[in-house]
Amino acid sequence: MNRMWRLFRIIVLRDLLLAFRRRTEILMSLFFFVIVVSLFPLGIGVEQQILFHIAPGVVWVAALLSSMLVLERLFAADYADGTLEQMLLTSQPLSIVVMAKVCAHWLLTGLPLVLISPLVALQYRLGEGQVLPMMWSLLLGTPALSMIGAIGAALTLGLRGGGVLLSLLILPLYIPVLVYGAGAIAAAATNAPQQAYYMLLGALTVLSMALGPWATSAALKFSLE
């Protein structure tokens, strides 16, 4: 147990360190989110009423896309330089490595979105009652995005055109998260109860955490043969 935990920790730290060395990467998935969210009003025109209606959908679609964009690189770099081979040759279960990498990914891409989302509320003139639901739904839903994404990333590893193939595979799996996440924010607009949405989002996250690492490590093993 202790050895697993140490390995977990060192891999999380390594991934965070890599992200900090790359400097931009930490802020970038955030900026991508902000920019995508800001693009829509430009394309759609700025009728207040419409913006208000589409806000939940836009926030969640932007979250999906920005989580996905970085996902592609979740294992790719380690695969290209042979580190992943070394990870396979560890005596610890591969799931530990997977969980550590997913955890780092969420810290770098999910958490920042949660924190920046109030700004979106300003841009789209959401009511004050919608800000907290937006943050909650993102907090509960984004870990599922990272975990589901990891499965896709492992499956498409090393395939040429993997990035787009990846989106093709995982976007459908993201749909429940999108529907419930956007649903929670939309419910808050009419003061409807949101608890059911939160529970569903939480359930999705727990479920993905339970099955994801196993599926991902299996996929990684196949990809490396």
């Binding site: 802020l27 970038m28 900026f31 920019i35 009003p41 430009l42 700025v46 300003l122």
Partner: protein, 252 residues
């Protein structure tokens, strides 16, 4: 024979020159800012009193907005000079300008949003002016992000210079497109500048503030250029002979 401008284009001679002028810029910026704010706050009439006293944010908001755009032009200009004449100093000035420009952009956005909250009751609206200011902020951030993502100084300079110039080309396009999403209508509507309709008293206070901001920018940018010079030339002899560096070395 005129002045040999290229002499001052070398970091070694620019560094002390900048050092001497910075205090003057700081002093005059402070004086002008105090003067401009005093004028704006106490010597201008309550013309817009229906907007309550909040309108006085204009003395920060508009100069900041002007500076944010002007500094982008300055930055792109130095980038061009750098690419054409291959002078290291121009790249340093361009790099030093970006953070100040970004700060003014942010200031314009923030004061505008604040103003909007008090007078329109909303923090944000997709008004063309605001939108293009927001995009300008993105351009500044992109410029700085690109620069910080590249470790090799030479490449960082040149790549971000290309970006600045591409941005300069597109800013008018962006402004025009956002301002006028429907070209069928814009063609007939002429752009209204509020400059003429504004009371000259207010205008003068705004111009004073603009000048103050400008001098402030000079001071900060020069300071930043000096730091960049020290950072990049730390292995050259002249830097090691500078009194401030010497004293540091002795201490450590």
């Amino acid at each position: 024979m005129g002045i040999n401008w290229f002499r001052y284009a070398s970091p070694a001679s620019f560094y002390p020159l900048a050092g001497k002028t910075i205090p003057w810029f700081v002093a005059s910026a402070v004086l002008l800012a105090i003067g401009g704010l005093y004028w704006g706050f106490f010597e201008t009439p309550n013309v817009l009193s229906d907007q309550k006293q909040y309108y006085r944010i204009i003395f920060v908001h508009v100069p900041a907005a002007w500076m944010s755009m002007w500094l982008y032009v300055v930055m792109a200009g130095w980038s061009l000079v750098g690419l054409v004449f291959n002078t290291r100093l121009s790249f340093m000035v361009a790099a030093a300008t970006a953070p100040t420009g970004a700060i003014f952009t942010f200031l314009a956005l923030w004061t505008g949003a604040f103003w909007g909250k008090t007078s329109w009751g909303t923090w944000w609206d997709w008004d063309p002016r605001m939108t293009s200011e927001l995009i300008l902020l993105f351009l500044y951030i992109g410029y700085m992000a690109l620069q910080s993502a590249i470790d090799d100084v030479r490449r960082a300079d040149r790549a971000s210079a290309v970006l600045a110039m591409v941005g300069l080309f597109t800013i008018p396009l962006i402004y025009y497109s956002v301002n006028c999403p429907d070209p069928n209508q814009c063609a007939s509507l002429h752009q209204r500048s509020s400059m003429k309709s504004i009371e000259s008293n207010i205008l003068w206070a705004m111009l004073t503030m603009t000048l103050a901001f400008w001098l402030y920018s000079f001071a900060v940018i020069l300071k930043r250029v000096r730091n960049i010079i020290l950072e990049r030339e730390k292995y050259t002899e002249w830097v090691n002979e500078l009194p401030e560096i010497r004293s540091q070395q002795v201490r450590s």
